[in-house]
């Protein structure tokens, strides 16, 4: 019997797990994919929002601001890249100025500090590549960008270090109340638990509706993005948002913690909870819309595009709380933007709710910090040499585009909750994320995975878990044919 079973190892589930692991509780996380960070958490804008956008008084607003405050110390403790670069919401015509001012006032009401409207020379100096039509912008110095993969992984790894168990490739197919506790059914085994945290992303409504007649409805809202090469990474220096108009939320242009330029997202409500494809229409839309706020974006430097789904609810606020009539079942749902920003605060809030139910004692042996994998791409020669002196494998560069060394990849594999697939290595190290998009490093990473993991053979290696094997067989062992 567990105290808590968390459904979902995205950033919300991981944040809950880490926070709960400060208590004396037995906890496990059930994740249907092969790894942490496989859903929304790996396909978003990677922004830690200042917190002016959410409606005043909403849970989103409160948790965004709280999360944003907690994020700095958390990332420092867990070895996660966080860059406090600030953000600008740009306004492209005078008649929209009242909306910009309203946003500033809302931000102030939400508790965001340092907001101010800038224009003219000062704005141009802040951000030279803004479109000529930009008249003013709301400057939010507290906004940051974060590495979302690292954050999700670090939270989960730290939770594991503090006693949380993780089960991957484990889909929850039923949740039933019986004998005074919850039975969480998966195809393999059934987990008995006092509390359930429903952090199932775009499937949170499916899980919720298993236990409550008061149904939840989550609409998958797709967002498509472009990623541009690091050569374009300084095209803007801050995150540039567009003021929402009647036509909807605009498209943002931002640097990333890895030095790329990110452009997106679209916002399309779809039916398919697995609809993470990009579309020709979405691509066209991004190209057109991005130009409204930023000029001269060098789209020729595009290295990839991707799309992710947010768990959108019509009411447009997080849904976090114990479900009426389902004692101990706690929703952590509808975590769309600013979900990433709010993650630390979401974990706090959920842990608070669990405290109220289970009244656990705090551990006195909680391990609060975790060392990340050193990144040689941006460090100086002396620091890199010091790493090589410790481990010669820092001397072998595997991913040429992002300068990721063999030591980092081996570390990513052997860290707790380590990588077991190409995408697992990618999310933990930046490998495969460069301009050649894994063309060069794929065979080398496969060699390393094969060598380091006794239960994985070269031809069993996957891109992203079962079903995505990279190899279909050895040379000359297939039954093909030509038509001549």
């Amino acid at each position: 019997m567990y105290d808590v079973v968390i459904i979902g190892a995205g950033v919300s589930g991981a944040a809950c797990a880490r926070e709960l692991s400060k208590r004396k509780l037995s906890i496990c996380v059930l994740e249907r994919d092969e790894d942490v960070c496989c859903g929304t958490s790996k396909a978003n804008s990677a922004i830690v929002h200042a917190g002016f956008d959410a409606a005043t008084g909403s849970l989103m607003a409160r948790l965004n601001v709280r999360g944003s405050t907690l994020m700095g110390p958390l990332c420092a403790d867990l070895g996660v890249d966080l860059h406090n670069i600030g953000s600008l919401v740009v306004c492209t015509d005078e008649s929209s100025m009242p909306a910009l001012e309203e946003l500033r006032d809302r931000g102030a009401a939400n508790g965001v500090e340092g907001l101010e409207i800038v224009s003219g020379e000062r704005l141009h100096a802040l951000e030279p590549n803004l479109a000529d039509s930009v008249v003013a912008a709301l400057w939010a110095p507290s906004a940051s960008i974060v590495n979302p993969f690292q954050l999700n992984w670090a939270l989960a790894e730290n939770a594991l270090e503090n006693g949380v168990a993780f089960h991957f490739d484990t889909e929850v197919v039923g949740v039933v109340r019986e004998d005074g506790a919850w039975s969480v059914h998966t195809p393999g085994e059934t987990f008995r638990t006092r509390c359930v945290i429903n952090a199932a992303g775009v499937y949170a409504d499916v899980i919720h509706n298993m236990v409550s007649p008061d149904t939840m409805d989550i609409v998958p809202r797709r967002g498509q993005y472009f990623v541009l090469d690091t050569s374009a990474g300084r095209h803007v220096r801050h995150t540039v948002f567009q003021l929402p108009t009647k036509l909807g939320k605009g498209v943002l242009v931002t640097p990333t913690t890895a030095g790329n330029l990110l452009v997106g997202p679209t916002a399309e409500d779809i039916d398919d909870r697995e609809g993470t494809d990009t579309t020709a229409e979405g691509i066209r839309e991004l190209l057109a819309k991005a130009a409204l706020s930023v000029k001269g974006i060098p789209f020729r430097e595009t290295i990839t595009s991707f799309s992710g789904l947010r768990a959108h609810r019509a009411e447009h606020d997080f849904l976090i709380g114990e479900v009426a009539g389902a004692p101990g079942f706690i929703d952590c749902a509808a975590i769309e933007s600013p979900g990433l920003s709010a993650a630390p605060a979401i974990g706090e809030m959920v842990a608070d709710i669990v405290d109220g139910i289970l009244k656990p004692a705090l551990r006195d042996d909680f391990i609060a910090t975790r060392a990340g994998i050193p990144n040689v791409e941006w460090i100086g020669a002396k620091d890199w040499e010091a790493l090589i002196a410790e481990d010669p494998a820092y001397g072998r560069v595997v991913c040429r585009c992002r300068k990721v060394t063999e030591a980092q990849i081996v570390s990513a594999i052997h860290h707790p909750l380590g990588a077991r697939s190409l995408d697992g290595v990618k999310r933990r190290t930046e490998a495969c994320m460069g301009r050649c998009q894994a063309g060069f490093c794929t065979p080398k990473i496969m060699e390393i995975l094969d060598r380091e993991l006794a239960d994985l053979s070269f031809d069993g290696i996957t891109k992203a878990g079962p079903g995505s094997e990279l190899i279909v067989g050895r040379d000359k062992e297939l039954d093909g044919g030509d038509r001549s």
Binding site: I283, I388, V397, C436, L478, D482
Partner: protein, 421 residues
């Protein structure tokens, strides 16, 4: 601690080897070749097909055999080699920083550098092909490495996008190893590959070549399940209603090669926006004194024999630079291209410093039949030769004679163009 070499060659593939050998033959005694793979040979090691060396050796060799010839020559003495070592920086002062597992971080001060890093493949992401991002999408070169070096098949039901030589070669390779290749789709109305490969790799196996077609959609969450191919119009835009779905588990991409120019940029050399490689003069010297470039990193080649020739020029000039320094400058002229000529290498010529005969290589921007390649010095045409057929996929050359230029001092421009008569 910093080592010094007179010449550092970055890359131990065909360009790097030929440059090093030529530098040694020109009298240089302090040469280092730095290669990131565990062996010399570069991309040739995985090009197990033949067609290499017809010009250099008057023999038809496979890639590994061609590489072995040069490796043997290089290892005869006078050329040091660092393997499994990645150059991570080249400064404008010619300080080379490399890392390797065996030696850690190494700093090498060079008097001259030859950039010979080759090129990389354009990925799916750069084309923004809509759809999912499953396993089974490979650039043709990555697939080639898996099949030829690792011995594993990346797929069994294959569609290939791009009729450049790598795509064509892989169509045959995959078929012979037991896969089924459904078709090769090509965006342009003509193939980018050599005629020989169309015949030997597609026609021989009954693999259809779909010109003016492209992939507009990739399906499959975990592994490729199908691709949708559509016809395109004159502007390369898909024509609605022409879509055909091809069930498959693999998409190979042969959609363009780009010089690996990160180190070129780090060294501060000016790049040509057309070739995406360095701008070079008649000595294949970049805009940074003493940094030379050759091979695919300079501009993407079709024939390795020309890579070797070009790299030898760079190597000789690097040795001359080390031996004699910068020398006297004359007046440099940009070669202006127009009317069907996409670019030339070199882009800049100094008549006083060019050799007696300078090979100027160029590519055309479309398929041209029965056109004249013309070279003008100001308004005077000094070269006018008919070519029966020219295509973007086949590099051409013109030999410029120094005496022709020196006979016309005060000439302000050199231009290359195609003319109908």
């Amino acid at each position: 601690m910093t080592r010094s070499y007179e010449i550092v060659v970055i890359g131990g593939g065909p360009a790097g080897l030929a440059a090093a050998i030529a530098a040694r033959d020109a009298g240089c005694t302090s040469i280092l070749v730095i290669e990131r793979d565990r062996e010399l040979g570069g991309i040739l090691n995985q090009c197990i097909h033949n067609g290499f060396g017809l010009i250099t050796f008057d023999e038809e060799l496979t890639g590994p055999e061609y590489a072995a010839r040069f490796e043997e020559l290089a290892l005869q003495g006078g050329i040091d080699v660092m393997l499994d070592a990645m150059v991570i920086d080249v400064s404008t002062d010619k300080l080379v920083t490399a890392v390797s597992l065996d030696e850690g971080m190494v700093f090498i001060q060079a008097q001259a550098i030859v950039l010979a890093m080759g090129c990389r493949e354009r990925p799916r992401g750069a084309l923004n092909i809509p759809g999912f991002r499953p396993a089974g999408i490979y650039s043709a070169g990555t697939a080639q490495r898996l099949v030829n070096i690792e011995g594993f098949m990346p797929g069994r039901e294959v569609v290939i996008l791009g009729s450049g030589d790598i795509g064509l070669i892989m169509a045959r390779r995959m078929t012979l190893e037991g896969a089924h290749v459904a078709c090769v789709a090509e965006l342009m109305p003509y193939s980018g590959g050599l005629k020989r490969n169309i015949v030997q790799c597609l026609d021989d196996f009954g693999i259809p070549l779909l010109l003016s077609h492209t992939v507009v959609r990739i399906e499959g969450r975990k592994r490729v399940e199908s691709v949708t191919i559509a016809e395109v119009d004159g502007k390369g835009s898909p024509i609605p209603g022409t879509e055909t779905v091809y069930p498959c588990d693999t998409l190979l991409l042969s959609v363009g090669l780009i010089p690996e120019n990160e180190l070129s940029l780090a060294a501060g050399v000016e790049l040509s926006p057309v070739t995406r490689g360095p701008v070079v003069n008649e000595r294949l010297e970049t805009t940074v004194d003493g940094i030379f470039a050759a091979g695919n990193v300079l501009h993407v080649h079709d024939l390795v024999d020309y890579v070797s020739q070009e790299a030898a020029v760079a190597g000789r000039n690097a040795a001359a630079y080390v031996g004699g320094g910068r020398g006297e400058d004359g007046v440099s002229m940009d070669i202006v291209v127009s009317d069907g000529i996409r670019y030339t290498v070199p882009q800049v010529v100094d008549p006083a410093r060019m050799p007696d005969e300078l090979t100027v290589r160029f590519r055309v921007d479309g398929v041209y039949e029965s056109r004249f390649v013309s070279v003008y010095l100001d308004d005077e045409r000094i070269y006018h030769r008919k070519r029966l057929i020219m295509a973007p996929g086949e590099m051409e050359q013109v030999i410029l004679r120094q005496k022709d230029l020196l006979a016309r001092p005060g000439v302000a421009s050199i231009s290359f163009k195609l003319e109908e008569a």
